[in-house]
Symmetry: C2
């Protein structure tokens, strides 16, 4: 627990120092880290009289947020706080926290989200230009709630905070797998908790068209298998997002990734139909016809309707991965290109985009699309969404275009939080001028939906997206990875109170996998595996579709094994000094793994779905055995025998092979331990 | 695991035999138990070619249900089944299951829900008069999925099944605490899984009016704190329920329990306003004015709108707990009673109900209400909903009225599944004639919402409601309590796959209570406590309101401690024979409790919200210590010393005292153990 020392710690993030050092682990759990924190002596003690007052203009957004903040505070502490539902009439005699705001913010790009939070012994003030800034401040405030032997308190401090980037997004793909309204809502809550402000909703793709469309009703009738959002649900979600200061940017991917549209309206296609909704994954041929006037009439009317339904200034038109096969094979299209001096499919798509842009402009929308839309001749108010990499982002910024980065934030590819965290939209060595840098608006984490179900989506998004949120909000200098992981653990825990199931569903899935037997041995195993990375899962003999089961070990396994990460630390320390204070923990961990397989095989006997990981579980036992031998040798300053080392090579080779599409993440650490004991 | 013995077991529930005996625990996990099961030799082996075909009329309800059944089967087995979305075009060459139905069912009282399921080595058939019967059969089918060393299978059998009662309901109170749409939907899924068919939606009470009303918009504007269902959400929920063969019966409680209406329209009240939404619990005074014509004009227009919004034939008007204070104090009302020869408030409410009935009849609705509405002169097509007890149900049946029972099914009162299970709507010793018995339509579990939040509601409803569902569906003779608990455990586990959080949120709440520390010692403790029963929780110094935190130990604790129940069994066996095979388990359990407190106090130090249970945790340690001593004495055929016995009395007295509003459930068992060792 934190002692309230008399030291006044001034932390300047701008100087590249980190807020928290190893010795003060319970002091601050802020994520994202604010721009500026000054910690002061003393504390504000929370008690059951805690009440708030709002000064300045407010509407239901701020009242709801204030009420919700009190409920979360009460929920954590068990305190019976006196205020019920905050309204304009809420005027407690002795408010301990006063909220001051100057105006009601607009949910749009570049809106002011800054705030200042001052905590003293007896009084807390939260000041922000807009109510949206207040919302951001509430999240910081809740993250500051601390505990000592006398109860709950907030550390005295002054925090001045604002985001580094104005576009901090999360994309959820609701086309490959439909994501029910409650999934979207709880993820919006998660986004708000880490100060993200753009929900990019991938609503149409080969595998499903997910929006009720009144102009072209076959889109949802024939393109969705019945799984689509009604316009009322969409309005409800947009309002829910706005109440959290989050923009909703819809994506309707054209002209490729459009099979579901063509299942409904085959006359839009570049090749004769009929089409059926795509069930498999990958880049598909069906593409809209760019030389058919009906395509543009259709899309013009379509965007006219969607422009009203989705109030944000931006409309995402996708534009990615057009393989050109249908265009190449269509004589009319080829003829058109010849007649109009269009040299290649790339320029033909530019022609297509310009027609779309006319519609969007007519309906007061600005265009955003993936890298491929970046073509000479488009106005500079479009936004380039880079999935391919820094290069295209830099190039477009240099040519005067705004851009956001998603390359490096593909959370569906099962990479580490560290990998995403250290990926900066504007790296230190950027070749961009200060003026050009301003065109980099931020970035988006992208949760592509091929291998994700409504049960697993939370664990694919959280907690890693919180690290990405920090990258978009906090100063570039905030990049201490160990400290990020420490805070990520706390953040992940707090995200649960919003209804996110990234932790809960792990146990649920393990229970199903064991057929309701004791999950403990399976958990010990799954805790140290990760799903295979990048696109490997599609290349291991299983053919996945939109209706495959996503309930196996690979789906329960978390994208990043914190147990394996921690074990790697223990191994490093042990190799440096077998008598280090954590040495016993390493031995204990290896002993648990040594005993685990014999328990897990009993469970596998009564749950055939687990058979696919049986041999890997046996490998874990063998690795633990070997690890213990190596640890013993190191402790006794002996070296492992050559014979043992040779046998270990075979084991390592086998153990690192994926099975059931998961990988055993402790192999490198055991290898290190054995190597150290071999010298 | 189940061996496929060559015995053909014929089980006749009607003869009062139970389907499952202790020796065949993995054979059948059916809940509710079907009317008739004939188990046959052999099995149907499930493989990845499994496909279904529908014969007969069907619409999206049956297609969705069939698709969902395949997804759940795939989810449990990890099998990549070949069919995607079932439609009229789904015609596999070799369907392993053929579904035959004669007509599309109507979601209304008395609809046919019967089905026959026949499983043989190579073929499964599911035959039902209506598609709703097919849905009931799907749930039985999924419950039959079994495991042996070769994989997944279904036991060969013939099941003929139909419900005992046509009205099998669950009431959710969304007024005291608003329950979001996803809470309602997942509970509808749970209901369907155990073959319930009426969702009674308690939508208005003193603490909140939860329906968007276009005729009288202040009802939701001023009566809900912003927490209400839009009409679109209500339509969505009704459609969702209908897709599961579940009726939605709305309740608008009048003339009492109406403060939220009066906050919006004080002119309806029997005493001058203004009124504000009630925050506390209990029976309140505000009551509609039964002698004001405006009341009836208002309600007539109101029911006109609601009659369209809610398509079910029945409308629940509440009618309970009118304390009469406002009526007694209002001279106009008194004058009216005198002029119209109305002797008491009871008859005045009968007058009120008759006016309401006119409106309901006009809008083609039948009336249902709580006991209090039962008054001479009402037509016999009304339904009496008994919350007071069997007596009123019997009386109304004898007088020609239909009725349903909720007395004994108040799941908010934190009683055991056994208690509810053995409560029969028509007990064996019923005085009712066969004809009168037909008027008992069934019953409803009632989840009153005072002490329930969206986080805890699932654990208050499930799994106990599954036992009640069995009471309403299965023959009266099915009442083996131990077998019910065995199947309830399996059912509870399977309910998780529907998204219900009754198990998941337990760990989540414990994590919050420990402030993200190791939950294991807290879990050991909370596993053996239960919230205080009946209405005790309101009488222990805490004043609860609609905005109090429902996040403490008492809220995390489950209504029924299965650990304590199991421990009671262990104690019984131990007293009978200290060398019985489970004796070691008893000693181990006591040893775990003996060690638990010293771990839990460390957690309490860093989580003040747990302080309220600290002394009870210490008692658990002391009880374990005493229990171990008693067990040792029993094993050695010695008796405990008088001094120890005397000290134990003090301990028992203290340990049985509630703290933090929970009770330690192992006290009686330890007491038995000590008593046995004292003789």
């Amino acid at each position: 627990m934190q002692k309230h020392t008399g030291i006044c710690i001034i932390v300047s993030i701008l100087l590249g120092m980190n807020v928290v050092n190893g010795g003060q682990q319970n002091t601050l759990n802020l994520m994202p880290v604010p721009e500026e924190i000054v910690l002061k002596d003393g504390i504000f003690r929370l008690d059951e009289s805690f009440a708030l007052k709002i000064d300045g203009p407010a509407d239901s957004r701020l009242y709801q947020a204030a009420t919700g903040m009190l409920r979360r505070l009460a929920g954590r502490t068990g305190y019976f706080l006196p205020q019920d539902y905050i309204t304009a009439e809420s005027n407690p005699e002795h408010p301990q926290i006063i909220i001051k705001t100057s105006r009601i913010g607009e949910v749009k790009l570049f809106e002011d989200e800054s705030y200042s939070l001052t905590i003293t012994d007896k009084q807390i003030t939260l000041i922000a230009e807009t109510d949206i800034g207040v919302l951001r401040g509430f999240e910081t405030f809740l993250q500051l709630l601390s505990i000592d032997k006398d109860g709950y308190y907030f550390p005295n401090c002054i925090i001045n905070d604002k985001p580094r980037f104005p576009w901090r997004g999360l994309m959820i793909d609701a086309s490959r797998h439909f994501m029910p309204v409650d999934v979207i809502k709880r993820n919006l809550d998660g986004m708000a908790a880490v100060k993200m402000n753009v929900f990019h909703w991938h609503l149409a793709d080969d595998q499903g068209f997910r929006v009720e469309c009144k102009t072209w009703p076959k889109l949802h009738d024939l393109g969705s298998d019945g799984f689509y959002y009604t316009q009322n649900q969409i309005k409800d979600i947009i309002a829910y997002a706005a109440d959290r200061g989050i923009r909703v940017v819809p994506e309707f991917d054209v002209p490729a990734h459009a099979t579901s549209w063509l299942a409904a309206y085959p006359e839009l296609a570049s090749a004769p139909g009929p089409y059926t909704i795509e069930r498999g994954w990958g880049i598909k041929d069906p593409t809209m016809n760019p030389v058919n006037e009906f395509t543009y009439e259709f899309l013009d009317k379509f965007f006219a309707e969607m422009a009203v339904l989705f109030p944000d200034d931006y409309m995402h038109i996708g534009g990615d991965e057009n393989n050109g096969k249908q265009w190449n094979a269509n004589p009319e299209i080829q003829q058109f290109m010849k007649e109009n001096d269009i040299p290649d499919n790339h320029m033909l798509q530019a022609y297509f985009n310009k027609q779309i842009l006319k519609s969007l402009t007519k309906y007061n929308k600005k265009m955003i699309g993936w890298d491929e839309i970046f073509q000479p001749g488009l106005p500079t108010n479009i936004v380039i969404h880079s999935w391919r990499g820094q290069k295209s982002l830099i190039e477009s910024a240099q040519k005067g275009y705004m851009g956001i980065l998603s390359n490096g934030y593909y959370i569906d590819l099962i990479q580490s939080a560290e990998y995403h965290y250290l990926n900066d939209p504007i790296p230190e060595d950027t070749p961009l001028s200060a003026e050009e840098q301003k065109r980099i608006l931020g970035g988006e984490a992208t949760s592509w939906g091929e291998l994700v179900s409504y049960e697993t989506v939370d664990s694919r998004i959280w907690p890693r997206t919180a690290a990405i949120a920090e990258r978009f909000w906090s100063p570039r200098s905030v990049k201490n990875v160990d400290d990020m992981y420490r805070r990520l653990d706390v953040t992940s825990f707090h995200l649960e109170e919003l209804g996110l199931l990234h932790m809960n569903n792990y146990d649920m899935m393990l229970r199903r996998l064991t057929n309701n037997h004791n999950i403990s041995p399976l958990k010990t195993f799954v805790d140290v595996v990760e799903p295979v990375k990048i696109y490997t899962r599609h290349r291991q003999g299983k053919i996945y579709t939109s209706y495959s089961p996503y309930t196996r070990v690979v789906d329960a396994a978390r994208p990043e094994s914190m147990t394996a990460r921690h074990f790697a630390d223990l191994v490093e320390k042990y190799i440096a000094d077998p008598k280090n204070p954590d040495a016993a923990e390493l031995i204990l961990q290896l002993s648990v793994w040594l005993e685990n397989h014999r328990q897990l095989v009993e469970i596998i006997k009564v749950s055939p779905v687990l058979k696919e990981i049986e041999s890997m579980s046996a490998d874990l036992e063998a690795l633990a055995d070997l690890g213990l031998e190596a640890a013993k040798a190191l402790a006794k300053h002996k070296t492992l025998k050559k014979k043992a080392l040779k046998a270990s090579d075979v084991l390592f080779e086998n153990a690192q092979k994926p099975r059931g599409q998961v990988e055993l993440m402790i192999v490198p650490s055991i290898r290190k331990l054995v190597a150290a004991a071999g010298n």
